[in-house]
């Protein structure tokens, strides 16, 4: 396998425009003859489908939900970054680029990140023209706020529902093209395999989630926009149906999977309340602007929070990080919450929580002042927990939120399988080892609106493609393999449900491949995953049959893939003998518990090639070296 990033030469600021000038074009007449499959209708998928159809390609779009509008992008709260510099506070494309690459702890490609910062401004223009109701000032012009500790105000937002509004904009743009007949729209169909012919991606296999019918679809290129794999942990802030299946099956067909161990764990989520817990709910991290994080100093302290006097409280973030205090980055906040709860200082019935206390802020600004800022978040918290956060401190705990790893792509967002493009959270490209707040929406839409429409055309213009044909034997082979797996799962009729297996898998990952990792723990995790995976294939109980709507069969297929990905995540975390971004190896930290990066040995993208599965997952590691021509990697410090 050869990994060629195909980054254009020349100065950083000119790479993208130079590339655009050199890209091959297709005449409208020729575009009409070509078809593209887009899988997933989140920000990346919907924007790509709409834009490609506008250019004239024939697009087939697929999603697992009952409508394209329900993709999990819809749940993003905070906002979208762009360096418009409307507030006149010194922002620039360079600064947005620099913050993103530094935030990613120097584990992403300079050229990709610069392009992301460069096209971000156009996203805002596009969204406004679609009627996205962003927040505005009295002047009627767009409002910006500072987000995630940024020193400039570059975040555009639509109340706490920015993802929803941007997704509806992209979804409506897509439906507009469905109306013209340029898009065939297929909700409730799940991709189960990629069809590769003569080394090129030429189609997919889907299962109709209503009828159970297996179907073959051919095209000149396949665009995968199927999101992240955070649900491998069972509990995460992802929607229940988010999964890795489409990406993983592409991996098994030859696409390299990059940096699978990079998982972002968000510090401010509502804690787990019991075994029945099905998902975790994120609370915006803006709460840390006014809330103070603490735990009782004495692990045996049974008093209610408001009865614990000041001297018996441990404000651990303020004490350990005097200059940033409660506003340390996400990974630092999450790690410290785990440390204090591991030491027995956690609060609540499960002990897996810390306090986020607004007492002092309410004394300062009054209850109304706090309500004006966070009223909807406080209501949400009370609705879920039954506790009033104006009276008692919130209990929070970290939760898996976003995965920076994903399928490896080059500068054109094409995987190492020609014709297979990957966009949005599903690819590995722009966030390095840690994603900054308000950057996920930016990346999904940048890929879909402003990168893929050009680079995909270049691929088609440059390729000698035969006419897509589902009669080719490779389609039949892939369809039979998917069908055989479903039949196998249904035939086991074991004694443990899919949910139980998934929950057990999640526990292994959370303990050993979560907030902090160690050599010993990772080796143990690999062993535990293998044992549990074997048991899954012997003892899982999948109800019903394949020929109708069967949610637990869908889950079974997805969990089967999570079991394989999980082992690769642990392998990847094991080989990376350094700490960077969200990846903390206990062996590689300073005495104060700060991450120690090793640029000399680990400044690379780890791209894994699937080699087989026989009790143990066989994968070969390939390295794409990261070169920093334009920025100097530095160590982060939040002391």
């Amino acid at each position: 396998m050869k990994l060629d990033s195909k980054v254009p030469s020349g100065p950083l600021e000119e790479k993208w425009s130079k590339h655009l000038n050199e890209i091959k074009l297709l005449s409208p007449n020729n575009k009409r003859k070509h078809s593209v499959i887009v899988v997933g209708t989140g920000l990346a998928g919907a924007s790509a489908a709409a834009s490609l159809a506008e250019l004239g390609y024939h697009v087939k779009v697929f999603c697992i939900q009952d409508s394209g509008r329900r993709a999990h992008s819809i749940a993003a709260q905070g906002g979208i970054n762009a360096a418009k510099n409307y507030p006149n506070d010194g922002d620039s494309i360079w600064r947005l680029f620099y913050d993103t690459i530094k935030g990613g702890d120097y584990r992403s490609r300079e050229a990709n990140v610069y392009r992301l910062a460069e096209v971000a401004n156009e996203i805002i223009d596009q969204a406004v023209a679609q009627g996205v109701p962003f927040a505005r000032e009295y002047s009627g012009l767009l409002d910006n706020r500072s987000f995630g500790g940024a020193q400039v105000s570059r975040t555009f937002y639509a109340r706490g529902q920015t993802g929803q509004q941007l997704l509806l904009g992209a979804y409506q743009a897509m439906m507009k093209m469905v109306h013209t007949g340029k898009i065939d729209y297929h909700p409730r169909k799940e991709m189960l395999d990629l069809v590769v012919i003569d080394g090129q991606a030429r189609g997919i296999i889907t299962r109709d989630l209503v009828s159970g019918a297996m179907e073959k679809w051919a095209a000149d290129a396949v665009v995968l926009c199927t999101g992240g794999y955070g649900n491998v942990f069972y509990l995460s802030t992802n929607a229940k149906n988010s999964n890795v299946t489409a990406a993983w099956r592409c991996h098994k067909r030859g696409a390299a999977f990059a940096n699978p161990c990079y998982v972002q764990i968000h510090p401010t989520c509502i804690p787990v309340s019991g075994d029945y817990q099905s998902k975790l709910t994120l609370m915006s991290e803006s709460l840390r602007n006014d809330g103070r994080v603490w735990v009782p100093k004495d692990p045996k302290d049974e008093r209610k929070a408001d009865k614990i006097p000041e001297e018996d409280r441990y404000y651990y973030l303020e004490e350990r990080y005097p200059s940033f205090g409660n506003l340390v980055p996400r990974d630092v906040a999450s790690r410290n919450a785990k440390i204090v709860t591991d030491e027995g200082m956690g609060v609540g019935a499960t002990g897996k929580a810390v306090y986020l206390d607004f007492r002092d802020a309410i004394l300062r600004d009054g209850e109304d002042g706090i309500r004006a800022k966070y009223g909807n978040l406080f209501d949400m918290y009370e609705n879920i927990t039954g506790e009033n956060p104006y009276k008692v401190p919130m209990r929070i705990f970290p939760a898996v939120h976003y995965t920076m790893g994903g399928l490896w792509v080059d500068y054109d967002l094409m995987s190492n399988v020609p014709g297979l493009f990957v966009a949005g959270e599903a690819n590995f490209s722009d966030h390095g080892a840690n994603r900054l707040g308000a950057s996920a929406l930016m990346q999904g839409l940048a890929d879909g609106y402003f990168v893929l429409p050009y680079t995909l055309g270049n691929f088609i213009a440059d390729s000698d493609l035969s006419r897509p044909d589902t009669d080719h034997e490779a389609f039949e082979e892939a369809l039979s393999a998917s069908k055989a797996q479903i039949d196998k799962l249904l035939a086991i009729k074991g004694n443990k449900t899919v949910v139980e297996f998934h929950r057990d898998l999640g526990n292994i990952l959370w303990d050993k491949v979560g907030i902090s990792r160690s050599r010993e723990g990772l080796q143990q995790a690999i062993n535990d995953i293998q044992v549990l995976r074997k048991e899954f294939w012997q003892n899982v109980r999948v109800p019903g049959e394949a020929g109708y709507y069967n949610k637990y069969l869908e889950f079974a297929c997805r969990v089967a893939d999570f079991f394989e990905l999980a082992e690769l995540m642990a392998e990847d975390a094991l080989q990376r003998e350094e700490s960077c971004g969200c990846h903390l190896r206990e062996e590689f930290q300073s005495e104060e518990g700060e991450a120690i990066r090793n640029d000399e040995k680990y400044s690379y993208v780890a791209a894994w090639e699937y080699k087989g599965l026989n009790g143990k997952l066989e994968e070969k590691l390939h390295k794409e070296d990261l070169e920093f021509e334009f920025v100097e990697p530095t160590q982060r410090s939040y002391k």
Partner: protein
């Protein structure tokens, strides 16, 4: 956080597919924790049914944080259940008492055929948006974002309608199974903004016509839709839609 448990009796609509006849089945769940969400309670029921070789109850859900609009159960006759401004995925069992009987049905409407049990086909909503629920701007042709100022109040009003999650509770609650609140919300959202003006007439005509074609009923001002809407869309959207529809007919 202390928690108490309760026994809940369930009457759930079971239906194999769109062609078959459905019926209510009863189940009893013990040890329901007050901190469980309503959907988690159904997850627990399904785990039991699976282990007893039963057929798990199918229902739609995804984000479980009240924004994707997938969930749409009708509980004791009320779309999304008893809590005002709350989608069913955000409803928790502490709103119920030990020994309660809870009746769960799908969102019933001719335009929402049942797929299985509590899962219905809402693709009619997609087709209403497809008919005209957008601004026809192509990628790349947008002017600079701050070129056209938008009055702050208008932008806020636009948001209030744009926040619709497309769950279909409005249809389930309406005695006429009308989709007027859903359709009106999109029309009102785009009407409030300068970007929505050029296609204003065409949009309302196309969307309203599509709504009727899908088999949704007319609005008779019952306002049941507004009462159950989990995000509080105002019924004024419907008034605006009707006004615009008449104007558009005469404008053309």
């Amino acid at each position: 956080m202390s928690s108490s448990t309760m026994t809940i009796h369930l009457k759930i609509w079971r239906q194999k597919n769109s062609h078959s006849k459905g019926r209510f089945e009863t189940y009893t769940l013990d040890q329901v924790d007050e901190h469980m969400s309503f959907l988690e309670m159904l997850d627990v029921l399904n785990e039991q049914l699976i282990m007893e070789d039963g057929d798990p109850v199918e229902f739609d859900y995804d984000c479980r944080e009240g924004i994707c609009g997938s969930c749409n159960l009708v509980i004791n006759g009320k779309a999304h259940g008893p809590k005002h401004l709350t989608a069913v995925c955000q409803l928790h069992m502490r709103n119920y008492n030990d020994g309660d009987t809870v009746v769960i049905e799908p969102a019933r409407a001719a335009a929402f055929p049942v797929i299985k049990d509590l899962v219905v086909d809402r693709t009619a909503f997609d087709r209403i948006i497809e008919a005209g629920g957008y601004v026809s701007v192509k990628t790349g042709s947008a002017p600079e974002a701050n070129l056209i100022p938008v009055n702050q109040k208008k932008a806020n009003q636009a948001f209030d309608f744009a926040t619709c999650i497309g769950c279909g509770a409005c249809v389930a609650a309406c005695p006429n199974s009308s989709a007027s609140l859903f359709t009106g919300a999109k029309i009102a959202h785009l009407n409030k903004l300068p970007q929505g003006q050029p296609e204003r007439n065409e949009r309302v005509l196309a969307m309203v016509d599509q709504m009727q074609k899908e088999g949704f009923g007319d609005c008779s001002n019952f306002a049941e839709c507004e009462a159950v809407c989990p995000v509080g869309i105002s019924i004024s959207a419907i008034a605006e839609m009707r006004r615009d529809y008449m104007k558009a007919l005469f404008d053309d």
